[in-house]
Symmetry: C2
């Protein structure tokens, strides 16, 4: 049997990561002990939050270890099972990506049905990505029909779903920001009422033009000047669901914070950070609703797919530079 290739963290990035922070390592294919599975990975996810785990700081998930494989969401096929309920050929969702073969406890794997949707969907629209959009918009942001919604990084995997779910749930107006003319065009195709390229003008000005009467909900993937512009545009009792601050992940300097934060008082705004794992109680409702919209062709999900584990670091770097449209996946 050929070896198992995996990507290790070779060094911790200072500021923007580079290819030199990663190392391709070949090891033996593992064998299962009692209660374990060996899974040949088919597809893995690269996500912005992984940048934070490359720093050696305490956070909501532990940092990646140096000289060890990275990890993250993946779907693969069971090739060896020493656990009840799993057999070779089963397709499972689990958390040990960044490697061709994963050795895992069976209780850390969840079977998925590859006939219902392409396996990559379980890492995206029907997985944590989709639940992040759904829970953040509806539960954290509390969006109600008739409201105006603004989402940043709107052509990304989460953002593009946020905008579409908002429209499907009756938002009066949905505005998105993105980082290229092609992405802006894609947002219009996806049904956004307005979209702008944040390079074109100060975000505050672009947002005011796109939502002259203000906004009710802001779904934040970016932080920085986007958050400041949103605080300025939010109407009384508005809410910001804060999912990410990608603008700040690679800053060595303390990040720029919104200078207009005092507006939260007079406008009675709520800014709420969230993690998807606090919203698992929505999962059944989410899967039912989202799979229905997918089946009816009312919900679209973009994927950018890169082939080969050796290209996973470049896929991740491209994600941070905004080179993806929708969910960024690596096919192994």
């Amino acid at each position: 049997m050929s070896g198992n290739r995996e990507i290790h963290l070779a060094s911790r990035p200072q500021g923007w990561p580079t290819a030199e922070n990663f190392r391709l390592v070949t090891t033996d294919v593992p064998t299962a002990a009692d209660g374990q599975l060996v899974v040949r990975n088919l597809v893995m996810s690269v996500d912005p939050y992984m940048r934070g785990r490359m720093n050696d700081v305490k956070s909501y998930v532990p940092p990646f270890r140096l000289d060890a494989p990275l990890d993250g969401g993946a779907v693969g096929e069971v090739v060896e099972s020493r656990a009840d309920g799993f057999a070779p050929g089963d397709v499972v969702l689990h958390g040990l990506g960044w490697r061709e073969y994963a050795l895992l406890d069976a209780k850390a794997a969840r079977k998925v049905d590859p006939t219902l949707a392409p396996v990559g969907a379980y890492l995206g629209v029907l997985g944590l990505t989709g639940l992040t959009a759904y829970a953040g918009l509806l539960e954290v942001g509390g969006m109600r029909a008739g409201e105006t919604v603004f989402v940043s990084a709107a052509a990304g995997s989460v953002g593009s779903l946020v905008g579409q779910i908002a429209k499907l749930k009756g938002a009066a107006r949905v505005v998105g920001s993105a980082g290229s003319p092609a992405k802006v065009e894609r947002l219009r195709e996806l049904g956004f009422d307005a979209a702008f390229d944040y390079h074109d003008a100060p975000v505050r000005d672009s947002l005011r033009a796109a939502a002259p009467d203000g906004i009710d909900v802001y779904f934040d993937n970016v932080g920085g000047d986007h958050l400041e512009a949103a605080i300025g545009a939010l109407r009384p009792h508005g809410r910001a669901a804060i999912c990410g601050m990608i603008a700040q992940y690679n800053d060595s300097e303390p990040p720029a914070a919104p200078r207009n934060l005092a507006l939260v008082i007079g406008k009675q705004l709520t800014l709420r950070g969230f993690l998807v794992n606090s919203h698992n109680h929505l999962r059944d409702q989410f899967v039912t609703e989202m799979s229905g919209w997918l089946r009816d062709g009312r919900l679209h999900h973009d994927e950018t797919v890169v082939d080969g584990i050796e290209n996973a670091p470049e896929a991740f770097l491209g994600l941070l530079r905004g080179q993806n449209l929708g969910k960024m996946l690596v096919r192994l």
Copy 2:
């Protein structure tokens, strides 16, 4: 009858206000038209939010007009009534302070019972000040028994009530910050578990020493470095009830914003600004509970009283400089 003295806004302050921004003006005592009352004010309130109204900017309350009397909470005695239900001698709460005689529509006045509490209490502990503390801590901050609470400007009228209500509602630990050793001492007398003078050390360090296991609720009267320290100390699912940002009211520069705002994501924090007038539905419960605690001697409220309308500007300036202990009132 002698004249009616009132305080006008002579010019809009740039940065810190000074005595020159105010003017004492003598006018005629007004007379009531149908449906109106003339009230001789007994006591008036000066409050930090009035600083914001001195700027010519759109906010949640309209700006004060130049060359016209300021306004704000006051209690006075009806001296002329041309409205049903009011008679000379009635004591009423209304919004036209900063003048010796107020002319107002009867529907803008609310009768209070001067035998139940000193009339100043209706501007403080049993009025909007008390409701601000009560609603902000319990409804906006969602404090539950067993939690740790931090309040800034804790020797002020709102802050001193926040800390005491927290203890009465079962907080495990209550920490306050204030601006002088005498105020810190007063917080200890009021039952705060820990208190510090924010001049002594960076707020972050003082707060860490006072609440080494972190905090669950932050009641913000200050903004700036206090808010940043609180965001750092808040535990997962912690809440900040943002009532004021007095540190920033007199800044001509854009205010310093918390540089650690991205922590709201991983810790799933909620920052919520509020205005007391959105919480009037709590008024009955508030009055019942607060007056019970007052009667039992379990709730203390400090007042700093200045005599004479000619000294109202100085009382306001002293408030901004932190020279008050508890509620700042002017007796007319």
